[in-house]
């Protein structure tokens, strides 16, 4: 369907594309992704000859596009851009008919065409056909932008970050619609985005580019399982399958920023600190910040009037674990000990944090669902 052969391009001394070779099959949804400046948009715009390569050949259905009339070529390739670019001087119906008119379709067919097109995106003809773009919401505008690209039934549609200017809700519904349309109409779609989630949701094949080269070209599942480079892995980020829970340590599950108090501090200060932070227990540390034990409000009430500092009231009954301990062991210990929390210590015996059932649950949730 679409084939790039040794396509290169430079701008001044800067090379934009290095010897690009790839092939996209008919009916595929190909998503180009990569950091900004990686050449993905340039690649896209070469397909409808908005940008000319310095060398190499691009074949569309076996024909070298450099040998075709570029206006004729563009009329047979759908084009959707981020800024939408509906012509504000034309109605919705006129915008949809731009390419059919350029192709000199019989005029009497245009109304039916507009009806069919609007029906595909659930926008009633009577209500929308004669509105102007400025009277539509962003999402509706881009729907019309897509219809304009599809109106002359091009076999291939180019989409340059078409949804990135829309709010997340609208983006989501348009993504579903375009995937639906693509499958129903069996279009080949070349789609540029910087949003990995979008790429994973829509693509049959993802083309990851960086610095004018293709880093990896693979279906989403394969890219998730075997990211080719660290950069691809980084882009996949939270979408990567969760690392094995066996690798996790107490440090991944603990709550940090715990209130501590020195063992030589006075009862009064201790109580006001508890009140201030709304807790009933404080972790006690020595002058080197090493963990000594805990002091609870109950003990202070009971015997607080006979001592000046909290030193004598410190208990060491709360179980402690090391930050590097296995998370599952910590969890077992938390459950079996019956204590409401575990104290997590660093190598040097200073307090790293605490593990509670809540901190465990939220860490689990974050790990699972991102």
């Amino acid at each position: 369907m679409l084939r790039f052969e040794h396509v290169s391009m430079s701008y001044g001394s800067q090379t934009i594309l290095h010897d690009l070779n790839f092939e996209i099959d008919e009916g595929q949804f190909a998503v180009f992704i990569g950091p900004s400046g990686c050449g993905k948009t340039t690649t896209l715009k070469m397909i409808n000859r908005l940008i000319q390569p310095d060398s190499g050949h691009i074949y569309l259905n076996g024909q070298d596009i450099a040998a075709t009339d570029r206006y004729e070529l563009r009329r047979h390739i759908g084009y959707v851009i981020q800024q939408i670019g509906l012509f504000p001087n034309m109605t919705v119906a006129q915008n949809i008919c731009v390419v059919p008119k350029l192709l000199k379709y019989p005029k009497e067919k245009n109304e039916q065409l507009v009806r069919d097109m609007l029906a595909m995106v659930d926008m009633p003809y009577e209500k929308y056909a004669h509105k102007y773009p400025s009277e539509l919401s962003g999402g509706q505008q881009q729907r019309i932008g897509i219809l304009r690209a599809l109106a002359a039934s091009p076999p291939i549609v180019l989409m340059d970050e078409p949804f990135s200017a829309l709010d997340p809700m609208t983006r989501r519904s348009l993504q579903l619609e375009i995937k639906n349309l693509q499958q129903r109409l069996n279009k080949t779609i070349i789609f540029v985005t910087h949003d990995m989630e979008e790429a994973l949701d829509l693509a049959d094949v993802i083309v990851f580019m960086d610095k004018g080269r293709i880093v990896q070209m693979a279906p989403p599942e394969e890219m998730l399982e075997h990211p080719a480079t660290e950069q691809v892995r980084e882009f996949l980020g939270k979408h990567l399958p969760a690392s094995a829970p066996a690798d996790m340590t107490a440090a991944d599950f603990m709550r940090t920023g715990i209130i501590t108090v020195g063992q030589d501090r006075g009862i009064h200060e201790c109580v006001s600190r508890m009140q201030h932070h709304n807790v009933d227990t404080l972790l006690v540390v020595d002058d080197q910040k090493r963990y000594q034990g805990t002091v609870s409000i109950a003990d202070i009430r009971l015997t607080g009037h006979v001592v000046k500092t909290i030193g004598p009231l410190v208990r060491c009954t709360t179980p402690t674990v090391m930050a590097s301990d296995n998370a599952k062991d910590c969890f077992d210990q938390l459950i079996s000990s019956g204590f409401p929390y575990l104290v997590v210590l660093n190598e040097d015996q200073t307090v790293a944090g605490i593990i509670t059932k809540t901190s465990m649950a939220s860490a689990m949730a974050e790990h699972l669902w991102g």
Binding site: L50, H76, Q83
Partner: protein
């Protein structure tokens, strides 16, 4: 002091003739040159400053110089007025076309429009409000510049004004000045009406529809 209505009417018609003719020529030239200049950005970098310097030469000087070459004939006045009417149209056409947002140009290219189609279907309609704004300036100014036609004795409302000034006759001055002011007002209003008809509905701000 009797007011010779038929003389005034005659002068108004001559004045109107000068104005309409020169504004039409100036408009066509201005739009054409404006389009040309937007297509040749390298050239326009040099031509535009030259034009704006020319624009600052007082009409009276220009018409005087032309008079030396072309003599005392309507062509002298019409040439001068057309050139002056051209400037605002040219400038606004150039600005209007350059201000067309890239997204529309890109979309037009992507749809497969050639240069001419892009110009006619997208760029000119979008620049139209600015271009007509230039036409309005040109029209109103030309009415007042046409007064200088009388300087070389070619009639129009300027006749009354020059005669009035030289004979210290205020009534005569007003006889020329008031119709000239009215003419400017009427023509300006006509351009405003035209503006409403040529600006695509989708470009009008909400509120001034209907």
């Amino acid at each position: 002091m009797k007011i010779d209505l038929s003389a005034i009417l005659h002068a108004v018609l001559i004045h109107l003739g000068y104005t309409l003719f020169s504004v039409s020529i100036g408009f066509v030239l201005g739009v054409a040159l404006g389009i040309l200049l937007t297509r040749t950005p390298k050239l326009s970098k040099y031509i535009l400053p030259v034009l704006s310097v020319l624009n600052t030469i007082p009409g009276i000087v220009f018409i005087g110089v032309l008079f030396l070459y072309l003599g005392r004939q309507p062509a002298t006045v019409l040439t001068a007025l057309s050139v002056y009417a051209m400037f605002p149209v040219l400038k606004n056409t150039f600005t209007g076309l350059n201000e067309v947002d890239d997204q529309y140009k890109e979309a037009a290219r992507g749809c497969g429009m050639n240069h001419f189609q892009r110009l006619m279907l997208v760029e000119l309609p979008l620049a139209m409000p600015t271009i007509i704004g230039g036409l309005r300036i040109a029209t109103v100014y030309t009415v007042s510049w046409a007064v200088v036609a009388a300087m070389i004795g070619l009639g129009g409302l300027g006749d009354f004004i020059y005669k009035g000034v030289s004979s210290n006759n205020n009534a005569l001055i007003l006889q020329g000045a008031i119709p000239a002011a009215l003419l400017a007002f009427v023509l300006g209003t006509l351009v405003d009406i035209l503006q409403r008809h040529v600006v695509p509905r989708g470009l009008r701000k909400r509120g001034d529809e209907g």
